[in-house]
Symmetry: C2
Subunit: 246 residues, 2 copies
DNA sequence: AGACATTTAAATGTCTGACAAATGAAAAAT
DNA sequence: ATTTTTCATTTGTCAGACATTTAAATGTCT
């Protein structure tokens, strides 16, 4: 019944609550480890384990030296991106999320920011997108590099919406799917089709034609889902053939 | 120049990479702390700090006792929801994200899953939404409870899309905005307008009328943004009045 | 042989004390 | 006044000990 968590977990929670509630403002210095161990009536090691837990969540940073200590850390969008991406990637791989589901989520979300991007994208975003398109058209490119460039292209599209919260939320959806995409073998024909759609999307964004961007993204979603289907089909086929041997 | 991270951070990264790469499968038991401290040639305390970092990210779980140890943890959608929500909430509050930006992101994402929800929502989802609408219409409800119910309503809408990845991504956007919404004072007229829109949305979902859901969500977005604007206006006004006193 | 009680070994959780390393500030020297 | 030195504070790391939990091994009785 009793599921008493570790002392270090309790202490971490206590400090975390103080940070989340705003009781401890940004850049505020926490008491030293020695002081905390007195306050909580535990040993220094236990306090340290609690602090490491918080550090792993980017809630605090530590500095050594006379004026050092643990400080409440301002969570930047950069740091949040990173956590979001690794968490999303793990979630997908550990729960055997199928390609269709991940793909559907990704394009649904991406289409959500397409109108905003058509309205606000800067020349910089367009330049990034066109640069990635050029890379994707190079003949000797590996499948992995192609996927990475695909991700960069879509990131630029999302960033074009000019809403950092959207970019943050989308980071997980767009990047976490990369490992799944890496399982696909892209034929020359596949690539040229995708590059064509990317080009059309860039052009439509250039012309601020939101409905067209939406339609093209829908096409891309359909096409990508088909590519994924063929991979899944091969897998299922293999799985079904094996028992047949009995 | 030299930015050598702590030993415990290095060891945590080493183990984390092994987990993310799939080298350590789910439910695999890590070597004991004593063994790890030998392998990495560090003390047991250092190993423990590394393990606590991983535990804070839900990458491992630990068990005491003879057959205990640290095990690679399957990251569940539940756990991921929680992390996503707290991270998003912190990100918004720590970076002074204004209401407009958060609101825009939230409704853009929500509209993305509206068509899917119109297509797939179950009777259960609709029942939850109508129950929340009923609660929202109660006269004595506090602003906080009203907001909480609002969040529950929108969660049901999102979950109706039947895509766990979408639900996970949206959790942050929908729930993290709650603290910002809590700063709004809802008049009786505001509430009745919102309840009216919620009812219309539930009806439209019931009728699987995706375009209508989209339109209603857009209306709700506009209305919510207006409410937020008035709060921001009061704040700015107050800020500008103070210096006038000089 | 089977059921129950006891012991034991292995593992994490916690504590204590110590030293190393970094670092800014105060004190001392020039 | 400026530079150098000393010093106190704080985190990082280590070693060893004991407490607690847990399941398996062992022993005991029916």
């Amino acid at each position: 019944m009793k599921n008493a968590p570790d002392l270090s977990a309790q202490i971490a929670k206590s400090i975390r609550d103080a940070i989340v509630s705003g009781d401890l403002p940004i850049d505020e210095r926490l008491p030293s480890e020695a002081e905390l161990s007195e306050q909580f009536a535990v040993s220094r090691s236990t306090v340290r384990e609690a602090l490491k837990r918080l550090a792993a969540q980017s809630l605090i940073r530590t500095q050594r030296g006379a004026t050092g200590g643990a400080f409440v850390n301002r969570l930047t969008f950069e740091q949040a991106y990173g956590q979001q991406i690794t968490t999303s990637a793990l979630l997908l791989s550990m729960n055997d999320v199928n390609f269709d589901t991940a793909c559907e989520a990704r394009f649904a979300l991406e289409r959500a920011c397409a109108p905003l991007s058509a309205q606000r994208r800067t020349a910089d975003h367009l330049a990034t997108m066109r640069a990635e398109i050029t890379r994707q058209a190079q003949p000797g490119l590996s499948d992995e590099s192609f996927c990475a460039s695909d991700v960069a292209f879509h990131r630029a599209l999302v960033d074009g919406a000019g809403n950092p919260v959207l970019s943050y939320q989308l980071a997980g959806a767009v990047e976490a799917i990369e490992p799944l995409m890496n399982m696909i073998t892209f034929t020359a024909r596949d690539r040229s089709h995708i590059v064509g759609l990317h080009t059309a999307i860039a052009d439509a964004l250039d012309a601020s034609d939101a409905p067209l961007v939406d339609k093209l993204l829908a096409d891309l979603a359909t096409y990508t889902a088909q590519l994924g289907q063929s991979v899944a089909a091969e897998k299922n086929g293999a799985k079904k053939i094996t028992p047949k041997a009995n």
